[in-house]
Symmetry: C2
Subunit: 208 residues, 2 copies
DNA sequence: ACAAAATTTGACTCTCAAGTCAAGAGTTGA
DNA sequence: TCAACTCTTGACTTGAGAGTCAAATTTTGT
């Protein structure tokens, strides 16, 4: 009864090539979305950066939303990986490590993806089909911060009113940072990022 | 030499009426932009809310950007006025007053204009012609917070690394609040807003 | 009541970006 | 080499929203 599948599967080599192409597209798209935001980037922009035409993109992705979601996922993975690496090479108290994490996160945002964070913070911009996926990404990312804060709380180094609220405030501030640090002359940026990190550390040290 | 102005100026009553109409339009537009953001609202939406057609809006404003800027101005004025009123009726230490200010600000954002704050925070969304105007609005608004913080610093109640950074972080967090508080069942919102206020107060009490 | 002025309408144009697709170019493997 | 498959092209359709405008409607002042 099962119909015999009449078409050959593509060879492995061809599949690998396809996978590579998809990665190239996702990287280009992630960069653009991260620089200018989802709505502001058209598929022609993405195609242009790759020196192809829009039509090709539709050969790999069936819609802008599908490409967009996949690209954000790529971006999120890379970002999280960089933060994890940072944590691996940073030893010390939760205080020291949390500060380093914040600093790295803001640095990535300011230097590499000035518009990326609002993609994660604002589900409003996304078609509802992709919301859940975005939330998951956000959660994984959040967990790096959360784990450190919990560790600090357990050790009595940190105090907070509500850990969720602290996380939300922290992320909000870090997401906004590119907007204001981006305007600064690059000489002043380093200092600005440091100040953000110092200031945000206050969130886990409630009152006198 | 001066050419005689051959056209009658409209009567005062007519002018007042025109002014009122403009206010109606601005109010409707400010509500919509505040709820859904600038790009997501078309002039047809605005017109629909007023039970007229798009064409009428162009009788009063020459472009969407002009209407948009004016509407944001209206919204900003109203918002600032509410905050000023709050301060008038709240006496006490800078600590008490700053907390009340934050609380009120977040409450307005969450209840009335969930998408409004990003219009102020993200110059990116605006055509460059309007940027400066928006920044001024933001500045006036900021000054309420800044004044209180400076007062607290002078009195030795507060400590900060950088007052500008604190303000930026505070605004970023308050702007984000509607996104996450909005998802909560309305019973939990009050508590959430309180926690945001408590948490943000930590920003002006830099640690031990 | 009526002419002039103010306002509103709705049909129109323009532009931009998403999405489609048949035909052509390039690759692969026998 | 050649047939089948993979990929790319560019011209196309479609839809949404900004902006225009002459004509119709409503308001105003006399």
């Amino acid at each position: 009864m099962g119909a015999v599948n009449g078409v050959k599967p593509p060879s492995e080599r061809v599949q690998r090539k396809r996978g590579k192409r998809i990665q190239e597209i996702l990287t280009a798209a992630a960069e653009l979305f991260g620089e200018r935001g989802y709505d502001a980037v058209s598929l022609e922009h993405v195609a242009e950066r790759l020196d192809v035409t829009k039509g090709s993109l539709y050969y790999y992705f069936s819609s802008k939303d599908e490409l967009g979601t996949a690209a954000i996922e790529t971006l999120g993975d890379e970002w999280t990986a960089r933060l994890e690496q940072l944590l691996e090479r940073t030893k010390g108290t939760p205080e020291v490590r949390l500060r380093a994490l914040i600093h790295e996160h803001v640095t990535i945002a300011v230097n590499d993806y000035p518009a990326a964070l609002r993609l994660f913070l604002m589900p409003r911009e996304w078609p509802s089909a992709q919301r859940e996926r975005i939330k998951e990404l956000r959660l994984r990312h959040d967990s790096l911060f959360r784990a450190l804060i919990e560790e600090g709380l357990a050790g009595g180094e940190f105090t907070v009113t509500s850990i969720d609220t602290v996380l939300q405030c922290m992320h909000a501030a870090m997401s906004q940072a590119p907007t204001w640090c981006g305007e600064l002359p690059s000489a002043a940026r380093g200092k600005a990022v440091d100040e953000v990190a110092d200031t945000l550390m206050a969130l886990v040290h409630i009152g006198p």
